[in-house]
Symmetry: C2
Subunit: 297 residues, 2 copies
DNA sequence: GCGTTCCCATAACATCGTGTTATCCGGAGG
DNA sequence: CCTCCGGATAACACGATGTTATGGGAACGC
């Protein structure tokens, strides 16, 4: 029996006549008549007795109807479930954000995603870049936004934006007057430095070395936010990513781009062996848009 | 989604590729390819990511697959159930037999039915004719074999055989010498009579009256079996239906037809508003055959 | 590097299931 | 007796689903 046959049989049982079943299914009466005959022929089972021009369901038909009713509900559930999935309901997306993107870019994207898919369930977590990979590989997260790509064979990296190094200083600082800073401009300042064992710290250190910026740093931190917090307290100036600079303590701090600082990628990381859900795809788009918007602003 | 779509989707999920799904379903690969594209279009939901020429199920596909698996089992159950019904399994037939048909005719038919449908469940019960109607009307039985028809609007009677009155006497009795008895032959015998308030008793009494057989009866019974039992004990001769005469205490009794005795019907009674099952239909056929066979023997 | 192989997509066509309208037949009821 | 209602049948239309032939991209081995 195929689905149409189940539908027709059910309709005839419910309606009690071929004509009414046809009305129920919004088709013409001969179609139902022929289908019903075909079902009986195919099953080799008389389902209705034609008596005085009316249909009389046999006990077999009644027994079959019980079974069919259950299945029918199941089929409707499949279609309903597909609708749900389309709207994102009952689907979840677990997003990891690197510390620098976790301030504004990713939250804004997640907020947009949540409003587009009100029924979806979204989990968001900030994590040091290093930790992200394990989470993705163990399938404990679906998507990560990171400031460095990966060469892990199980994961795929897709560039979705860019960041660069900027110099952060308290509002009103002498550097405010310049639109662009040169490496030499920061030489005389007290510099808050990044630990070299963080990915960003290494990038900054590499660049400093290549630019011959050898700053005297008395404080060492492991995150851009911490650097900004210190700078806001007058502990010196810091070189951090522009995403953090833009978002962190912006009422107390100002920043300027640095001439010649490298342009680095922001990546969406996901498990290679599993296709993204609609939510995942959309999240990547929104994150890219959010990053572009931040870059402009 | 229709059944074919569910089948195809399931096959692709199980096989992991369009090509293998096609093999699984014994159809060509392009059919599956097109169907899959159609499903995605219709659902508005990307189910597989085409990556490096391979298929990668999305989380949506995996979620849908869970739902689909259940329904698929349900559909198979419907077909299985139909097969069962065809073979009579899980179907029951509740048969009532009148006292006279309950001796041989109906049991023989039921035995044949049970061997034709080994999986069927058959209930058999003897009941006074009067009680049968209520059972049928209350749907506590499906079919009754009775020696009288009914005019109840809810029930339908179908003639399936005939019976007649015969005279029963102990083997070796003087009447043995005759092939046919005349009403006057029984005049001089001690007659075991039927209560007039049983249907059969009334028929016998009516016929006796019309034949001017006014027998001296000292014993009155309410069933043919009882009459035969008495006759076997030498209590006299009895006028009973030929079905009972043939079957009851036949090693001690003999019987002869009576000239001019009426030919009466045996009927299959069933609820008019419900169609017979395959079992019911077949039971009627077998009962008719059994009665015909008894008539010949 | 190049041919081979595997897998998916597309095109063109055949067939069948399922829909339609028109029509007939039998039973019920005024 | 005629009409109405419900079911069955015939003839036809169309879309779903199947087929074969073919092309393109990625992976693999020589």
């Amino acid at each position: 029996m195929n689905l149409r046959q189940i539908e027709v049989f059910r309709a005839v049982m419910l309606a009690g006549s071929v004509t009414d079943a046809a009305r129920l299914l919004h088709v013409s009466q001969p179609g139902i008549s022929r289908m019903l005959a075909h079902i009986e022929l195919q099953l080799g089972l008389r389902l209705f007795e034609r008596k005085k021009g009316r249909l009389l369901p046999t006990p077999e038909a009644q027994a079959l109807h019980e079974e069919v009713s259950e299945v029918y509900g199941g089929i409707r559930r499949v279609t309903e479930r597909a609708e749900e999935l389309k709207s994102g309901a009952r689907l979840s997306l677990r997003v990891l954000a690197s510390p620098s993107t976790a301030l504004v870019a990713v939250p804004r994207a997640v907020a947009a995603l949540a409003s587009e898919y009100p029924a979806a369930r979204i989990y968001l977590e900030t994590l040091p870049t290093r930790e992200m990979l394990g989470r993705l590989i163990r399938r404990e997260a679906d998507l990560a936004i990171s400031t460095i790509p990966t060469d892990n064979a199980l994961l795929a990296s897709k560039p979705i934006g860019q960041w660069r190094l900027v110099c952060v200083f308290p509002r009103g600082h002498a550097l405010t007057s310049k639109r662009l800073l040169h490496p030499r401009d920061v030489l005389n300042e007290r510099l808050i430095s990044f630990s070299r064992d963080t990915p960003q710290g290494r990038i900054i250190a590499d660049w400093c070395a290549s630019s011959q910026v050898e700053a005297a740093s008395s404080v060492e931190v492991r995150s851009g936010q911490m650097a900004c917090a210190l700078a806001a307290c007058g502990a010196g100036i810091a070189i951090v990513d522009d995403l953090t600079a833009r978002a962190c303590r912006s009422s107390e701090l100002d920043f300027r781009p640095i001439v010649g600082s490298p342009l680095l990628g922001i990546f969406a990381l996901a498990h290679e062996g599993f296709a993204p859900s609609v939510l995942g795809k959309r999240m990547i788009e929104l994150a890219a848009a959010s990053l572009k918007q931040a870059g402009r602003g």
